[in-house]
Amino acid sequence: MEKPRRGQVTRKKASAAQLRITKDINELNLPKTCTTEFPDPDDLLTFKLVICPDEGFYRTGRFVFSFKVGPNYPHEPPKVKCETQVYHPNIDQQGNVCLNILREDWKPVLTINSIVYGLQYLFLEPNPEDPLNKEAAEVLTNNRRLFEQNVQKAIRGGYVGGTYFERCLK
């Protein structure tokens, strides 16, 4: 058996994921409610998205999402987590986000921009039909005023039901 020829340094080539993410990031066309933060500008595969909605239930809050783009991008979608605790029917306490294009409806033609718009839309139109946080979904369906109050309470910081939310005012 032949030994792997390691160590013979040849110039590393850009991976297909790297080629694609460079394009996606350079062409990010963010809505004015969104900003991105790159902790390391040389690492385009790891970044944060901050959404400050300007209308809807969540208009007073500031929500941070972490993005991790894997080596199989865009065959596989990036891993997106909500880092801010939020009272939302489609986001759970561990930061899992129920957005169809992050899982079952992902296609390689979609881009980081598509996800940004998808996430923004979740704050404008929380969807109680497919809940991840069932209690929040029930409140939204049965009593929109109470839902609005709960969202505000959570954004200002405090308990909603038995769950404590950290303050995330704009």
Binding site: R11, K12, A14, Q18, T22, N100
Partner: protein, 437 residues
């Protein structure tokens, strides 16, 4: 009988009929000759990637077609569940290297054949290794690995004054199967559609909606996915990411999936299913593997001998109901490397490079973002569109290419709205005689 006369043996009579006389289906430029069979038997070097279901079939087919210089690479070891279709392996081989066992079997069974095994990942080898082959044929179940070898072969391409050097093209024949469906394709890197051009064609992994997994599971798969996606990150039982090859991990997922299935009264969670869902395994069908490998081996033979026109370039196969095949020409998407001549890298600043990309008639870019790789690490040179990146790469604008560590032959990735995909621009420094390393 000496080795040089081996091609005269009776066992190759059928090959000689195809290679030593013309026929109605032969390639227009095909010149029948007895030397072609000699080439196959003595010098043609083939690499088979993967020694699993497709790989066993490919090795058998190629060896019986007269190819002798065959290499096979696979990082896996043999598992009991492989034995029903990976026919080069026996019960005693469980736990051994697939590549080594398959090579030994073929070498013993088919006289004169010299299969060289490589028990490692394809990523363990570099350009020098892949360059030695005339043709590479893939029987993989991983898209990551396919994309890697595709990228490797594209990076081996050589352009002289913008013209592709045909000597640098290593054809890739790629087979894939999923249950009763399969595909076979011929990729001529730089000339026809490659894996990246057709990424949309690969079936995405099945992902269930998160809300279903979390609240309304109906299938055993939903219970397993729940443990994998929600419970594992939450409880982090082994303080590491879930590894589908670790039996302790799988046992934990199995146990928790059973609990959840019980809670929702869902039957059908088994250890095998847990393994399958975690590792995204789709049951393999031996006959599909055989059909696809047969097509791939035939294509290798056609390319090696030029006796027939190769597949152009993508064949789909489905034997769920009867047999259906369809071949079409997948389209190449433009992703090429372009050379950019730099007169004086010691004084040319990044700013001026950007101006060049915006102003020169051949680029006319709007707001190019530039990244590269230096010492194996990604580096963002400049990106004006993202505020946090712009602020921290702005200083690069006034540095010269040499100060930035960009060398002669450096690949710069350039993304811009004016191009459908990222361009690779290779810097070519005009040497002023002395002091180039």
């Amino acid at each position: 009988m000496g080795d040089c006369q081996e091609s005269n043996q009776k066992r190759w009579a059928h090959l000689r009929k195809v290679l030593e006389r013309p026929g109605p289906f032969s390639h227009p430029e095909f010149e029948p000759s007895s030397e072609i069979l000699d080439f196959i038997m003595t010098s043609c070097k083939i690499l088979v990637i993967g020694a699993g279901g497709l790989g066993c079939e490919l090795l058998k087919d190629l060896a019986l077609m007269g190819f002798k210089q065959i290499h096979v690479i696979d990082m896996d070891t043999i598992d009991l569940s492989n034995l029903n279709r990976q026919f080069l392996f026996r019960h005693k081989d469980i736990g051994s290297s697939k590549a080594e066992t398959a090579a030994a079997f073929i070498n013993k069974r088919i006289a004169g054949c010299q299969v060289t095994p490589h028990f490692c990942k394809i990523q363990d080898y570099d350009e020098a290794f892949y360059k030695q082959f005339h043709i590479i044929v893939c029987g993989l179940d991983s898209i990551v690995a396919r994309r890697w070898i595709n990228g490797m072969l594209v990076s081996l391409l050589n352009y002289e004054d913008g013209i592709l050097d045909q000597q640098s093209v290593i054809p890739l024949v790629d087979g894939g199967t999923e249950g009763f469906k399969g595909n076979a394709r011929v990729i001529l890197p730089g000339m026809s559609a490659c894996v990246e051009c057709t990424l949309d064609l690969y079936p995405p992994q099945v992902n269930y909606p998160l809300c279903t997994i979390a609240n309304t599971p109906r299938l055993p798969e939903h219970c397993i996915e729940y443990v994998k996606v929600i419970l594992w990150p939450k409880e982090n039982p082994f303080n590491t990411e879930l590894d589908g090859d670790d039996t302790q991990h799988i046992s934990w997922v199995y146990e928790k999936s059973m609990e959840r299935a019980l809670q929702f009264n869902i039957p059908g969670v088994t250890y095998r299913l847990v393994q399958g869902v975690v590792k995204h395994i789709i049951p393999a069908v031996a006959s599909t593997n055989a059909a696809i490998a047969g097509v791939c081996a035939t294509e290798v033979f056609k390319i090696a001998t030029s006796c027939c026109v190769p597949l152009n370039n993508y064949m789909v196969f489905n034997d769920v109901d009867g047999i259906y095949t369809y071949t079409y020409e997948a389209e190449k998407r433009r992703t090429s490397t372009q050379l950019l001549e730099i007169k004086d890298p010691d004084t040319m600043k990044l700013k001026q490079l950007l101006e060049l990309l915006s102003e020169s008639a051949s680029y006319q870019m709007k707001s190019p973002g530039l990244t590269t790789i230096i010492d194996g690490k990604n580096k963002t040179l400049y990106m004006s569109t993202i505020k946090s990146i712009e602020e921290r790469t702005r200083d690069n604008l006034n540095k010269t290419l040499v100060e930035l560590g960009l060398k002669d032959g450096q690949d710069i990735l350039v993304a811009d709205v004016t191009s459908p995909s990222t361009l690779v621009i290779k810097l070519k420094y005009q040497t002023n005689d002395v002091e180039m390393t």
